[in-house]
Symmetry: C2
Subunit: 365 residues, 2 copies
């Protein structure tokens, strides 16, 4: 087992990465403050892991909230179902919530924990690659609003993150690829050596080589933890770098009503668009853009805007972004592989050109 630490002073917490961790009561027991433990999961994950996880918490008084599966259910209504269960079972301020599932479950469980009685503890047990390398670490929690993704939420750090790499065995190929989009992101942000490693090990990752996956997860978590420790509440701009590809990606997700594209898939398209805009600005070479595109495609990720969203729609949807300041969307762009920056130093014309050219060629359409 590999143990990393997210270094946030009094709110520091460990990330445990390894095999067979879900069933280990000794790992989680020190992080549960009192008897009440509510496990929040969904209909896809529950049949696979709920019994195991419940057994690991056997010494506590546990209850379960079972939510439907999917980004489309990441809403205030779902959060309210968690509140209803907590209140019906008379959970108090010493209670612990356990998120068992992917990023949607983790974000919602964390937000419910942030708001229930003005804040209770929670534990992240991410079961998808995407949530293991990204959303379970760093304390960003929240839900979507019909008018914008992740617009409602809180910063609320978990007590610990338990990443059982065995859970990846049951993950379908498409979800695995979606997770790799966020993994590739870390290489591009500030870890060029990792990017090269990913190019060399893409096949091993797709073949679910357990050593390769464990390494990619640990390095991603390490990269993320270092950034979060520098800028927990995204005030300095450093943490915003983690949103590489996300402003484009959120627009694609919202424009598709959260169906059709997984978060990681939308982010992959967004990363490619960010690279293309960077190239138009003269910051990236065509060769670098090709390297990025090739790696994304090698792990079976999409790189083009879906035909049903027009460039104008993309622009409008991108305006509803948390990084908008003084009316202009700040974007994460690249000045090299492993060199990212938050900037509004681009012209509307170049952004428009990038979006207009961001579709698959006419044959594909």
């Amino acid at each position: 087992m590999n143990t990393l630490t997210v270094d946030l002073g009094a709110r520091s917490y460990p990330i445990y990465i390894g095999q067979n961790l879900l069933t280990d009561p000794q790992l989680i027991t020190p992080h549960v403050v009192a008897q009440q433990v509510m496990i929040v999961t969904n209909e896809t994950v529950a049949p696979l892991y709920l019994d195991k996880v419940r057994a690991a918490y056997a010494q506590f008084n546990t209850h379960v909230v079972l939510l439907p599966d999917g980004e489309v259910y990441k809403t205030l209504e779902s959060i309210n179902r968690i509140f209803e269960q907590l209140l019906t079972q008379r959970y108090n301020r010493q209670a612990t919530l356990v998120a068992l599932g992917g990023g949607v479950i983790g974000d919602m469980t964390g937000f419910a924990a942030a708001c229930y009685q003005r804040g209770i503890q929670f534990i992240q047990t991410p079961t998808t690659l995407l949530s293991q390398v990204d959303s379970s670490v760093g304390g960003k929690t929240g839900v979507n609003h019909p008018l914008g993704k992740n617009m409602i939420g809180a910063f609320h750090q978990p007590r610990c993150v338990v990443i059982d790499t065995d859970t990846l065995a049951t993950l379908d190929d498409r979800q695995l690829s979606a997770g790799l989009a966020e993994v590739i992101k870390y290489g591009l942000i500030n870890d060029p050596e990792f990017f090269s490693w990913l190019e060399a090990h893409a096949d091993a990752l797709l073949a679910r080589d357990s050593n390769a996956l464990a390494y990619a997860i640990a390095r991603s978590c390490q990269d993320k933890a270092a950034i979060v420790a520098q800028d927990e509440h995204e005030t300095s701009g450093t943490r915003a770098l983690l949103n590489l590809g996300h402003t484009f990606g959120h627009a694609i997700e919202t424009g598709s009503n959260y169906v059709g594209y997984l978060h990681g898939e939308a982010v992959a398209i967004g990363i490619h668009l960010a690279a293309q805009l960077s190239q138009h600005l003269g910051w990236l070479t065509l060769q670098e853009v090709e390297r990025i595109k090739n790696l994304l495609q090698k792990v079976h990720l999409p790189v083009h805007i879906p035909a049903h969203i027009s460039a104008e729609q993309m622009l409008a949807l991108m305006q509803v972004d948390k990084k908008v300041q003084h009316g202009k969307v700040r974007l994460i762009l690249l000045q090299g592989i492993g060199k990212s920056l938050l900037t509004e130093d681009y012209s509307a014309a170049l952004l428009h050109k990038t979006l207009t050219e961001g579709y698959a060629d006419l044959m594909e359409r």
Copy 2:
């Protein structure tokens, strides 16, 4: 104008108390970070003050959210209306919310500010005595759930609190009395001199003597700010003292579906019950209980449990309280006028006796 400070390090903020403050742009301008300002108010307050307040923010780009009036609307649905407006108008992270109204508006506006894009700024402009002396100060924000009062929320401190005592001129007598319940509470918690002052000036307060009101508001805010500075997130038990009478009071509010009793009225009954239980425990004399009851009744507050809620219902509703620990409700009780403590050192039998005897005599029923 009297300026107090809530001393919370980087989150410190001023409380301005005086006449004619609502219309003063100079007071609020330094606390607004960017152009977008959303004023949240209700249908009762808007006709009285909205134009004035909007004029004070004239140099900014303002919008308004108008909510229905009443505790029954302090819900997630109302919060969602604020989010809808913020998203429709494309408010960003530099935006400021302004709460214009009583405690319900302040609590909801603060909670919306806590959650919108994971946290934006807000300003409290309380227009009722109750919100001026209590809910606008200290950063407790939130909404009710059908299964429990104030169960969903966040700690989120405002940028400043603007208390214009002129607004009390339009407050109806019942609301004024309800506010005095919280004022009396501060005397009982730790300020016996203030309690005596209130006994001497009850008539002046009811007659809306402006000097008396300004003094009572400032002293209440000062007492509250001192407690909040010691224990911002209610972890040490000190801040819990501010809940004197509230566990009983919340049960009465929930048991009445938030209609029939104003918050301050329910708290007055709760304070009287806490005093009676304290007397049963031998901690207060009968004379002290009478002093408390007399002062509450002198300012026209109720002191008896409403007949439609049984003692058993009261007990059940009190179990859903944020101060429950290890299955037992911790209560704020009194060991003298101006000497309160958070304790679970009472027997179920004495609590039951207190509740059973807490009704008006049979003639009144």
